[in-house]
Symmetry: C2
Subunit: 318 residues, 2 copies
């Protein structure tokens, strides 16, 4: 009953998951809330409220620290949430200070992809390998780069933007301003947007006749039936993601690629990409790559575990 | 006179430079020889002879250690020269053991690009920054990735193969088997090969009328005069290298890009690439990038300094 815990707070674009996590990555309790994203104030208030409600219900030992994994750009040493695309955070928010004043325990912040990569280091592939890429393909595409046993952060913690690797210089315009970034071609969000754009030109496409909202799974399944639009969109995605990953293998010489994210969860896309990534890199980097595996951390837990990991790492640094 | 020194041995595809280097990067003496690259045996013998001749002439304090920077693939902990494209090394050579038996001092091996990046860390930009890319564009293209103050080696020391990043999926076939790698489009060797291939289709090109052997400088100068072939080759190079570097900036969030190599030495190509690399990355990674600078290490010395650096690093590890 007195096993030490930290609090993890996984803040996505629409919801918050708060939980208590032990040192060996067991989630003892957790609670999900929605974000009121109308303004910066309501967003931050939603996070505070979600934590407060969890803490009020938590009657076991006082947590040692709290880690917050957030969408967007973070300055971890300063405890600042700098910016988020999908939430109204356009100016830096001193979230670390605010939450430590409010809850009286040490707070660590980082972005959700770095946090997930840290969880993968502590409780997943990192227990076996010092050099792996944690690939996430969902609404967007990003990568946690773990090299020599350390998460690559770059000079200001922005490393990992694999989604904005150009793989098709004459490809579609990306919101970032360049043409042919891998994200709008091969992410779930990108594929769905491309289908929406192009559907009008394919009156016979099976993708018109979806009972529920369109998903990448329905695109893949239509492609299997030979639907022209679905074949085009999914082939482009396979090619784009293959190029990006082979580039990454040649550049960084990882031992493993570990993947997560909704777009890869049914295996359709990653299995087709795998054939290329296992055969196309340079001989030496190809021979070093032991495999491409799904994360052993549960997809619905990795965000919370990542956030908790920030807190555990903080404890060990001090 | 008794300042401690190490020996650096810079082994290129055609020549060897041996020198004595102090802890602060001063070259006290050096000597250049040719490689007899007819076979593995003559190649290794050339290296031994070059070192022996230097050592025989060296009448000052006994060197503490020796570092060898080599073209090709190296296993530094095992002291193995695994493979080289431009020399007849196709099976691993236990060069570390052979040279330490022969000369009786500790030996460190690494590839030339890693060695140069280590020299840049010790005596160049590394004195100011922990996150930079050391870009080399000459016969080929490669990158030393210095992140969080450490050289990224990857799981088997092959990290840095920027030359085999695909930037143009329908581009020319690369010897590595993929299409549109940046190296055959934007390296000096690649540009010269493309001119040779295409010259027959451009009977009026000024590149037919070169007095000496064709160089990238003559391509750039012909491009300035509006020569159609030269404009095409150099524009492709600008676009390809720009895409590769912007991809790298987005992925790794470096603070600086430091460059070396003959193809960039006159500034023509890198100045045109710079405009893109300073404007096209994501806002956050763009703002973190402080600049793109030539290495402060002299181009003709960086290989030797890199090799010496391997020896100094060895000394400090032990």
């Amino acid at each position: 009953m007195s096993e030490p815990v930290v609090i993890g707070v996984d803040v996505g674009a629409t919801k918050i998951l708060v939980g208590a996590v032990t040192r060996d990555g067991k989630i003892l309790a957790s609670r999900r809330s929605l974000i009121d994203g109308r303004s910066k104030t309501t967003t931050v208030q939603s996070i505070e409220d979600a934590i407060t409600e969890f803490m009020n219900a938590w009657n076991r030992p006082r947590p040692l620290a709290m880690g917050i994994g957030l969408v967007g750009q973070i300055d971890p040493p300063a405890g600042l949430w700098l910016e988020a695309m999908n939430l109204p955070i356009k100016q830096p928010v001193p979230l670390g200070q605010q939450l430590s004043d409010r809850f009286g325990i040490p707070i660590a912040l980082d972005n959700d992809v770095h946090a997930a990569a840290l969880a993968e280091m502590r409780w997943g592939m990192g227990t076996e390998s010092a050099d792996f890429i944690y690939l996430n393909v969902g609404t967007g595409i990003s990568a946690g780069l773990v090299l020599d046993g350390r998460l690559v952060r770059g000079t200001q913690n922005y490393a990992g933007e694999l989604g904005h690797m150009v793989v098709q210089p004459h490809g579609p315009l990306c919101p970032c301003g360049r043409r042919g970034c891998v994200e709008p071609i091969a992410s779930g969000g990108g594929m769905l947007a491309r289908v929406e754009e192009q559907l009008i030109h394919f009156p016979d496409s099976a993708l018109h006749r979806q009972e529920k909202a369109l998903t990448t799974q329905s695109i893949f399944s239509a492609a299997d039936s030979g639907d022209t639009l679905a074949v085009r969109i999914s082939s482009d995605a396979i090619q784009a993601l293959s190029i990006a990953l082979v580039n990454l293998v040649n550049l960084l010489n990882p031992e493993w690629i570990i993947y997560g994210g909704g777009t890869l969860s049914d295996g359709w896309l990653i299995e087709r990409v795998r054939a290329n990534v296992e055969t196309q890199p340079l001989l030496m980097t190809r021979q070093s790559l032991k495999g491409i595996l799904p994360s052993r951390l549960k997809p619905e837990q990795v965000g919370l575990l990542g956030a908790a990991c920030l807190a555990w790492n903080l404890g060990e640094l001090e």
